[in-house]
């Protein structure tokens, strides 16, 4: 069959899975007074539609910032405004100031779900298809399989279509950045990434690799000649895009400061709830939050994050290739997730995106990571009533990715890119199945067993510590792969064997 029909089938299948998940519950459904992220997004529509721009980020009588105040960058606000206009057309009650608070109805849920699907269809899915067809190696069939596996990644589906968020926009824009950069259009790539950064500040996790890749490219072309010209072009693009995004706020420095303050709420502490990162896991042994002051926590997390991203960034700066870039994206965002300040469990989607891009090159570690990342959000899914879709999408993803990527992959041992450590490969698979079994066991216990009375958070904690171990191990692994890049000859051989 022609490629276009196979790809369309994969995309249709991905869309069906997405919409089927969206039939389920969302975060905070029927839980007044605060509800959840679904209400937050609806509330932003209400605020942006009814209030003038300069009140969006300020606490006023009409805008109570303690009730889901806007804390994402301007593009999110504009997007909310756009959705609000559509909502107003369909049913004005949905965005009426004050009166619409906590509005829940069949029609509204449908509308909100549809906005996610539209954004996904316009931004994320085309980027995935383009990436797989233009930037991944292998036969056409393998590219189609890559499309399917990336589209079926359960973490993103469950958070966007179950829990309710618009990650497909920020991640999709970042992916557009990667794709366009990979195709050699540096200016457009930086534009896409700046847009993504202005949609969600968490995209900062990806910013350093983008910066290093582009800077490295400028260095390579010679900072005295064409490199300088390129650097200036990129810098101008970034500044102009930023300026355009922030245009309504530029008139008053107070506005800018307030927005920045909303975006980076330092006061909220090192971590909240149960996150599979270093601080939360360390907290089991040492109560960091109570021992250290907020400032000390901030400095410690800043230092460790910088240390963790340093090797991959330097390597990328020296060698700005697409392969290095993808790995650096993983390493940087994962390091941010594990060590930085105020991390949410959903932020694991940021490293998950570049890991999806490695599905084709490093199937086993990528599948492993993606599964662990979905698992790490289990407590959230249980809270939102998404148990059935969690189980089904996880099993489906595991099954499809293992079947499609390893069945096509007869030479995967070389593909692990560990060079001399080939015997590790088999141990790797054994460990993989062991860990999948453990995840299944922990999932089952979280659902079926009541925790002991003195340890009510036992299962969420176990889930996060167990996932943390995976993330830490895979951070090390991806760093090793990036630093010890296989010699060119090995990669050429692989190209031949494909």
């Amino acid at each position: 069959m022609e490629n276009w029909s196979l790809v369309s089938i994969c995309v249709l299948f991905g869309l069906t899975a997405r919409w089927a998940v969206s039939l389920n519950s969302y975060s905070g459904a029927g839980k007044p007074p605060m509800f959840g992220d679904y209400e937050a997004q609806r509330h932003w529509q209400e605020v942006t539609y009814n209030l003038p721009v300069h009140e969006w980020y300020f606490n006023t009588t009409d805008n109570n910032l303690n009730y889901w105040g806007l804390d994402y960058p301007p593009l999110t606000a504009y997007h909310s405004l756009l959705c609000a206009h559509v909502a107003k057309l369909i049913n004005p009650d949905w965005v009426e100031l004050h009166a619409s608070r906590g509005h829940e109805s069949y029609g509204h849920k449908l509308f909100m779900r549809a906005t996610v699907l539209v954004a996904d269809l316009l931004i994320y899915i085309p980027a995935v298809v383009l990436y797989s067809f233009y930037l991944s190696e292998g036969s056409n069939k393998k590219k189609v399989c890559t499309v399917l596996c990336i589209l079926l990644y359960p973490g993103l589906i469950l958070i966007d279509y179950g829990h309710f968020q618009y990650n497909s926009i920020s991640l999709g824009l970042a992916l557009w950045g990667v794709v366009v950069l990979g195709l050699g259009w540096d200016v457009l790539g930086s534009l896409a990434f700046v847009l993504s950064l202005n949609y969600k500040q968490m995209e900062l996790y990806h910013s350093l690799p983008f910066f290093c890749y582009l800077l490295g490219k400028c260095f390579k072309q010679g900072l005295a000649g064409r490199g300088l010209f390129l650097l200036v072009k990129i810098a101008v693009t970034v500044l102009v895009t930023f300026a355009l995004c922030w245009l309504p706020f530029l008139s008053d420095p107070g506005q800018i400061l307030q927005v920045v303050h909303r975006l980076f709420p330092v006061g909220r502490g090192l971590f909240e709830d149960k996150v599979a990162n270093t601080w939360c896991s360390l907290n089991v042994l040492i109560k960091i939050k109570t021992i250290l002051s907020t400032d000390t926590q901030l400095y410690i997390s800043l230092t460790t994050t910088l240390l963790a991203i340093l090797p991959s960034s330097i390597k990328l700066l020296m060698k700005p290739t697409l392969w290095q870039f993808k790995l650096a994206l993983v390493n940087s965002s994962l390091a941010f997730f594990l060590f930085s300040f105020q991390v949410h469990e959903k932020s694991i989607l940021l490293p998950a995106l570049p890991v999806c891009l490695l599905l084709n090159d490093l199937p086993l570690p990528a599948i492993w990571f993606l599964q662990a990342s979905t698992f790490s959000m289990l407590p959230l899914f249980l809270k939102d009533g998404l148990l059935v879709p969690y189980v089904v999408t996880s099993l489906a993803f595991l099954f499809f990715s293992i079947y499609l990527l390893s069945a096509l992959e007869h030479c995967s041992e070389d593909k692990l890119r560990l060079g001399p450590y080939r015997q590790l490969y088999r141990i790797g698979w054994a460990l993989f199945y062991f860990s999948i079994t453990a995840m299944a066991g922990l999932s089952f216990m979280s659902v079926a067993l009541a925790p002991p009375a003195q340890l009510p958070d036992l299962f969420p904690l176990l889930v996060s510590v167990f996932s943390y171990l995976h993330f830490l191990g895979l951070l090390l692994y991806f760093n090793i792969v990036q630093i010890a890049e296989p010699p060119q000859s090995v990669r050429k051989n692989q190209k031949k064997s494909n």
Partner: protein
């Protein structure tokens, strides 16, 4: 090796031979392919598991009243003695399937009690706890294993043309995908809620057994099927004549006509004892309790109207439409008096009893005669010139489609009875593939009104696109070229317009409140054109084969 073979084949341009799968694998050995090899069946579980995941993810989707129907039957069979099964009427959804299905529900209820005991209480009408939903949905998904196995058996008995080394281009792969991922079955069973997968599994398995020459097994399976759901009586003529003609008579004359002397009484007795013993097992207890009339009155309720609330896209839909058009025309031309017209006719499509105003009304016996007349030529053809199990399969499809076209109170879901077995023929011949595309696309589209909730609209559109796109591209590739003529293509593209008109434009228009029945009417009339056309083409193909056979003999 493989390349060499293919090249030699194409250079000498031998017309591709029909080779059986078992032989084909000889050429495959030693040929290293990038994809899983065709003769290892690892792709099959993948395809089946893939669709099972899709089914599981639809667990929380909308379900129709059929969900309550089956819950009620679980409760009846679990909590009441056998003698009360067909008398119980607390719920309006009384047990109206044959006894074997009741026993099937009885066995399911023993698993159900571990999920939620409350669903097994007859008085708990409309009971839908999460555990009940999970159990009922899973019961459909799990019993679909029968269907999956049957599909595998069908794929094994498909003839294939050697040539394509790509797994995706093999007829058996395409057949497996067309059956396992069938759009109609997915939405009827896993959204609307019914147990068709398991029943069609038995039907397909029986067909596969006939294709494999294991006729007694095939007959046994079909008898069991009849005792599970009596709607399959419609295709019983094909079975009866085929078994009598091709199984009980062991030899033909040289011109293909029946050799009366070759009649084998042993075979007839074997068949008869199978039918009677299964029937006795199923109906015996009720006959012993003297409840047979009660059971039969439940199984064949003739109180219902000619057409279902939503007209199935068959001849009667066109008939109703013509009647309506004539009456409107008559009123306009002042030939008719509005006051004298039956009232219901003007709101048609939403009422059960549809009274015709101009054309004569249709009674059940007329539909029965029409149905019998419509399937008669096909049945006669396999009596006069049996063309093996494939001829039988074609006759079976004609019977299913004929009864769909002319039957009394036909449901739109019944189109699946023709579509699913027809898939097997579609991957074997070019002409059938063309008819198949017409029939499935219109037939599947006519199922759209089954899911009328807004949230399920994207699901049905996406799944329909998925299946239709796959069936078109795969069959086109298999037969290397376009399968439809421009007129047919235009008609099918018209379905897109109908969909947009009916589900997007019309609900926004003011007529939605005054004449809400128009979208359903348009859908069923438009689809019935396509189904009628496919039926005629199918008949032509059958009779033409009959003609060429005769010609050859002369």
């Amino acid at each position: 090796m493989c390349y060499l073979y293919v090249e030699v084949h194409s250079v000498i341009s031998i017309p591709p031979r029909l080779i059986h799968r078992g032989q084909a694998s000889v050429y495959d050995t030693g040929c290293v392919m990038a994809t899983p090899r065709a003769d290892d069946w690892s792709w099959f579980p993948a395809l089946a598991l893939g669709v099972s995941f899709l089914k599981c993810i639809l667990i929380n989707a909308y379900h129709s009243t059929d969900f309550e129907v089956h819950r009620n039957w679980l409760a009846i069979t679990h909590s009441l003695p056998v003698s009360k099964w067909y008398h119980e009427n607390t719920s309006e959804w009384t047990l109206d399937y044959p006894p074997l299905f009741a026993w099937f529900e009885y066995s399911l209820s023993h698993v159900a009690q571990h999920f939620d005991k409350e669903m097994l209480v007859v008085q708990n009408l409309l009971y839908t706890s999460p555990a009940t939903i999970l159990f009922q949905r899973l019961s459909v998904i799990v019993t679909d294993i029968v269907f999956i196995y049957a599909v595998k058996e069908c794929c094994r008995s498909v003839r294939e043309e050697k040539g394509s080394k790509d797994l995706l281009g093999h007829p058996f792969f395409i057949l497996a995908a067309l059956l396992l991922w069938n759009f109609g079955l997915l939405i009827v069973d896993h959204i609307h809620f019914q147990y068709n997968g398991f029943l069609f599994g038995i039907l397909l398995l029986s067909v596969a057994r006939h294709l494999q020459g294991r006729h007694l097994e095939g007959a046994l399976l079909f008898t069991v099927l009849l005792n599970l759901k009596h709607i399959y009586l419609y295709i019983a003529p094909a079975y009866g004549i085929f078994l009598l003609r091709s199984y009980c008579f062991t030899e033909d004359n040289t011109d293909g006509s029946v050799r009366w002397s070759s009649f084998s009484p042993v075979r007839l007795v074997a068949l008869g004892s199978i039918v009677i013993s299964v029937g006795a097992l199923s109906f015996g207890p009720f006959i012993a309790m003297g409840q047979l009339p009660q059971v039969l009155s439940r199984l064949f309720p003739f109180k219902r109207g000619l057409c279902h609330a939503y007209w199935a896209p068959n001849v009667w839909a066109l008939y109703n439409m013509v009647d309506k058009a004539l009456s409107v025309l008559g009123v306009r031309l002042k030939l008719l008096d509005v006051a004298k017209l039956p009232k219901a006719s003007m709101t048609g499509g939403l009422v059960q009893e549809f009274q015709h105003s101009i054309l004569p009304s249709v009674s059940p016996s007329i539909t029965l005669i029409c149905t019998l007349l419509s399937i008669m030529p096909a049945v006669l053809s396999i009596w006069c010139r049996p063309r093996g199990a494939r001829g039988f399969l074609r006759c079976l499809v004609v019977c299913a489609l004929g009864s769909f076209m002319f039957g009394w109170h036909v449901h739109e879901k019944a189109i699946l009875m023709a579509i699913l077995p027809f898939s097997i023929l579609a991957v074997e011949s070019r002409e059938d593939a063309g008819i198949f595309l017409m029939l499935t696309t219109t037939g599947h589209y006519s199922l759209f009104p089954l899911l009328f909730t807004a949230a399920e609209l994207p699901i049905k559109v996406l799944l329909m696109l998925l299946f239709t796109l796959y069936s078109f591209t795969s069959l086109k590739k298999l037969f290397r070229g376009s399968l439809l003529n421009p007129l047919e293509t235009t008609y099918l593209l018209g379905l897109v317009a109908v969909e947009i008109l009916c589900e997007v434009v019309y609900p926004l228009s003011p007529w939605q409140h005054t004449m809400p029945f128009v979208p359903l009417l348009v859908t069923s009339v438009y689809c019935s054109l396509g189904v009628c056309y496919s039926f005629i083409r199918l008949y032509v193909s059958l009779l033409r084969q009959h003609g060429t056979d005769k010609h050859k003999q002369l």
